[in-house]
């Protein structure tokens, strides 16, 4: 999911000034001929090459970015469809009153890329053999899945051992329900099947070619079930590991599109002024990332609510958004982002920027400033996955200094950070970017829930334990009625905001930069990881 981006602030600055220098001299240019004929070839930037491209096993944005065009889920997020969910391989879904079963009606006349018919057996196989036992998110969502019955080729009935809310299943469908062909995987070692890279799906594009380090190529599936879809003949994912490289390739018209903020935020202002280039902020509403201060509650000072409140008050969210995110983010109020209106509750405790109050709270908590102005020292570990998490680390150190807390920054690469924070608990404060995945039960409650084993990334490893909160989380997990379940999640937000097991600072979606010739760019809230069946090129 584009987590491995490494960038240097100075490099971008230099690039900006250098290009400004060059831009001032008008130079004759011959434009390379666009290779657009018919539907055309769309060339997009990719920054990572997942070793396992099977979205049924690895439900991550980095995989979906490529694989979602080939392998389809049962349903996809939508701006317009009822309940925000548009049918894909399933045409209808219904939950039983007791919450012990969900029935999917499947699409008729769908064929796999190898010509075989798509049936309920494929859904049952994917669910029981892949999603539930192997998939990173499916292991949570389908934990209580007992069996999938297939009364006929177009009906799949999911049976659960415990009541499972349809609301959760619905919200999870776009990410967890990629269906793979039973006839390709059955009887093989699923983890080692070559079809994990040479994907076989039902989607609008077929997997054609992979040249490691260079590109992936997908071609049009002429037998796609969607009427007049797909519009494009080909999609090429060109591997561009350097972020400045993606911007340059866009300007040089060598690529059409860079998603997932492949063009750095600080470059957007400049590139948006380049003729023929559009900056698109829509299309990531269902992929909201959250900027979070993780807290190690084993540390005596941090186990005191007043200290946590003081830290929350010391953070100037407006500054963070305007400076670090160059305006492309929103202030958070709690653990559920505003982009999830179904659950979002704004009526929670808030912590406006107020250093005086923060200082007063720390005095009250019994941590007076020493003669050197320092109350106590902390170890701060910003996650290295994004520029913004690293920059927020620098900012937070200064913000803490203003209230007499001295923070030393820990520096580590991704693997070392994961061990330091989530396995060894060698941190006092950490900066993390968890993702809200459409429902709090998928990857949000785990951030504050107690009793989790160590070694689980993006989970509560700060030793926080709150029985009341745990009980709300547990009740919500088995409440079938959507209204009642949502109410539990409102309570969840209130408790988290009041007790601050962690501090939610900001939330952001990514940015797409595309040539004007690319049409229908953000047509759903998971656009970058959806099937691009109606994406087109203007000739």
């Amino acid at each position: 999911m584009g987590l491995m981006r490494i960038d240097l602030l100075s490099r971008r600055r230099l690039l900006q000034s250098a290009s400004a220098l060059v831009a001032s001299t008008a130079l004759p240019a011959w434009s390379r001929a666009q290779e657009a004929k018919g539907g055309g070839r769309l060339v997009v930037a990719a920054d990572s090459e997942p070793k396992n491209l099977n979205p049924a096993i690895v439900a991550s944005n980095g995989v979906f970015f490529i694989a979602s065009k080939v392998v389809e889920p049962l349903a996809e997020a939508s701006y317009t469809a009822p309940g925000g969910l548009a049918p894909r391989l399933a045409t209808a879904w219904d939950g039983s009153v007791d919450g012990l079963s969900v029935t999917f009606r499947l699409r008729d006349g769908v064929k796999w890329h190898d010509g075989k018919d798509f049936t309920s057996a494929d859904v049952a196989y994917s669910a029981m053999n892949v999603w539930k036992p192997l998939q990173n998110l499916g292991r949570v969502v389908f934990a209580n899945l007992l069996a999938v019955d297939t009364p006929d080729p177009l009906t799949a009935v999911f049976r659960f051992s415990k009541p499972t809310p349809l609301q959760l299943i619905r919200n999870a469908l776009p990410a967890v329900s990629s269906v793979i062909p039973k006839h390709v995987f059955e009887g093989t070692d699923i983890a080692k099947n070559p079809a994990n890279l040479n994907l076989v799906g039902t989607g609008p594009f077929r997997f054609a070619e992979y040249r490691p380090g260079e590109y992936y190529r997908l071609t049009r599936n002429a037998d796609y079930w969607g009427k007049d879809e797909p519009k494009l003949d080909e999609i090429i994912y060109r591997i561009l590991p350097d972020r400045a490289g993606a911007a340059a390739a866009l300007e040089a018209e060598e690529i059409h599109l860079a998603a997932f903020s492949a063009v750095p935020l600080s470059d957007l202002d400049r590139i948006s002024k380049v003729p023929g280039i559009q900056v698109v902020t829509k299309g990531y509403e269902a992929l909201t990332y959250q900027l979070v201060v993780e807290i190690n509650h084993r540390r005596k000072e941090l186990s005191d609510l007043k200290v946590r409140q003081a830290i929350a008050h010391a953070i100037n969210r407006k500054f963070v958004i305007d400076t670090i995110f160059v305006g492309y983010a929103t202030a958070s109020t709690g653990p559920v982002p505003k982009n999830a209106p179904e659950f979002y509750d704004p009526e929670v405790a808030s912590y406006p920027f107020d250093t005086r109050k923060a200082n007063a709270l720390l005095d009250e908590a019994g941590y007076p400033k020493g003669t050197d102005g320092v109350r106590f020292s902390l170890k701060l570990r910003p996650a290295p996955y994004f520029n913004e998490t690293k920059q927020f680390g620098y900012y937070l150190r200064q913000a803490l200094a203003a209230i007499g807390i001295e923070a030393t920054l820990g520096n580590a690469d991704a693997a070392a950070h994961q061990v330091a924070v989530y396995t060894d608990h060698d941190f006092d404060l950490a900066v993390g970017p968890p993702v809200f995945r459409g429902d709090p039960a998928i990857s949000t409650t785990i951030l504050v829930q107690s009793g989790l084993p160590s070694g689980v990334p993006f989970s509560n490893q700060g030793g926080y334990e709150n029985k009341a909160l745990d009980s709300v989380i547990a009740k919500a997990a088995e409440t079938i009625d959507a209204e009642a379940r949502t109410e539990f999640y409102r309570q969840f937000q209130k408790i988290v905001a009041a007790d601050l097991p962690l501090i939610n600072v900001a939330e952001w979606g990514f940015i797409t930069v595309a040539r004007d010739t690319v049409l229908n760019v953000p047509d759903n809230p998971r656009w970058a990881v959806s099937n691009w069946a109606d994406t087109a090129l203007r000739s």
Binding site: M1, M4, R11, R217, E254, A412, D413, P457
Partner: protein, 329 residues
């Protein structure tokens, strides 16, 4: 000739313990850095539970002891098996065979260009040390040498790829173009122009300065005075007497540079999206892929040893006074 054979044999004998030490040290370094391949993988897919992590560690063999794994690696290496890359889910040997030619092409062209240009400029500058020409060449080359590679690469890319559009901004060749034969070679040459140019410009300065300094030294030697006294033309003195004798330290430099260039190509390969060795090494480190990194380092070490061996043989050709076995590296 027998001397050359003796040298090759002796080098081979000394190389094996060197390579062994390289392997063990790299292994230890990677084993004791924080986080393993499973941690790196889980982060890249956005999380996973302990059961998933334990299964992966078992599948990757990471649940075995350090010693057992080192022994396993060494014994498979003895059978010329480079092992399995967990980050790419492919055999390490395949990855190396796939990426090495790209880096060799990039490095080879850049070194040749840097050596050629640097030596020529060094001769021009060293023909009349302290002259105005010498000053200009020395200053400009020093400035170029001081420029960070990534910056120069980006600037060249903006000028020649984005603004002028004379050259492609990145990649090794036009994607899925179906070109073959000379059309493909031309296409690759166009793509390599910027990265090779960037590397060459930076390393050129080094060759230039060594050549110039070495020439300045040779000018002071007696045989040059003698050549002058003989009434030889200045041109002949510069080229046949001074430059030829000044060339020797450059050959040594070439050997040292071949190792430095392997490292320097990491950044350039990233900026210009060239699937080479440097980028592979970077990915091996971030993914904590021990067998892959060991394979890369081993191949690089062998490369450096071979290059230095070849240069020693060339040395003997350039300077008949030296027997190959006289120099030990």
């Amino acid at each position: 000739m027998t001397a050359a054979l003796r040298l090759i044999r002796r080098r081979l004998a000394t190389s094996i313990p060197v390579l062994l030490i390289v392997i063990v040290l790299t292994f230890v370094l990677l084993e004791f850095s924080s986080g393993d391949a499973v941690d790196a993988y889980l982060i890249s897919i956005g999380g996973g539970d302990p059961a998933v992590a334990a299964n992966l560690r078992h599948a990757y063999g990471l649940d075995q002891s350090h010693l057992a794994r080192l022994w396993l690696y060494l014994s498979s290496l003895a059978r010329l098996d480079f092992g399995w890359s967990v980050a790419f889910e492919r055999p390490v040997a395949d990855l190396i065979v796939e990426r090495l030619p790209n880096t060799l092409l990039l490095m080879g062209s850049a070194t040749a260009l840097a050596f050629g240009l640097g030596t020529s400029l060094g001769i021009v500058a060293g023909a009349r040390p302290e002259s105005a020409t010498d000053r200009v060449i020395s200053t400009v080359s020093l400035i170029l040498y001081a420029i960070p590679g990534f910056w120069l690469g980006l600037v060249l890319s903006i000028v020649f790829a984005v603004k002028l559009r004379w050259l492609p901004s990145a990649g090794l060749e036009t994607i899925a173009s179906g070109r073959t034969g000379s059309a493909r070679m031309l296409d690759i040459a166009m793509h390599l122009a910027l990265p090779v140019g960037t590397l060459a410009v930076i390393y050129m300065a080094l060759f230039m300065r060594v050549m110039r300094a070495s020439m300045a030294e040779v000018w002071r030697l007696d045989f040059v005075t003698f050549a002058r006294a003989k009434g030889l033309s200045r041109r002949r003195i510069v080229l046949r007497h001074v430059a030829r004798n000044a060339l020797l330290p450059l050959v040594t430099m070439l050997g040292l540079q071949s190792a430095a260039m392997l490292g320097g190509s990491v950044v350039i390969e990233s900026i210009f999206a060239i699937p080479g060795f440097g980028r592979l090494a970077q990915e091996a480190v971030t993914q904590r892929d021990t067998p892959l990194l060991l394979g890369i380092i081993l191949t690089s070490a062998v490369l450096v040893i071979v290059v230095n061996l070849l240069l020693d043989l060339v040395y003997a050709l350039l300077d008949p006074r030296l027997q190959p076995s006289d120099r030990s590296a």
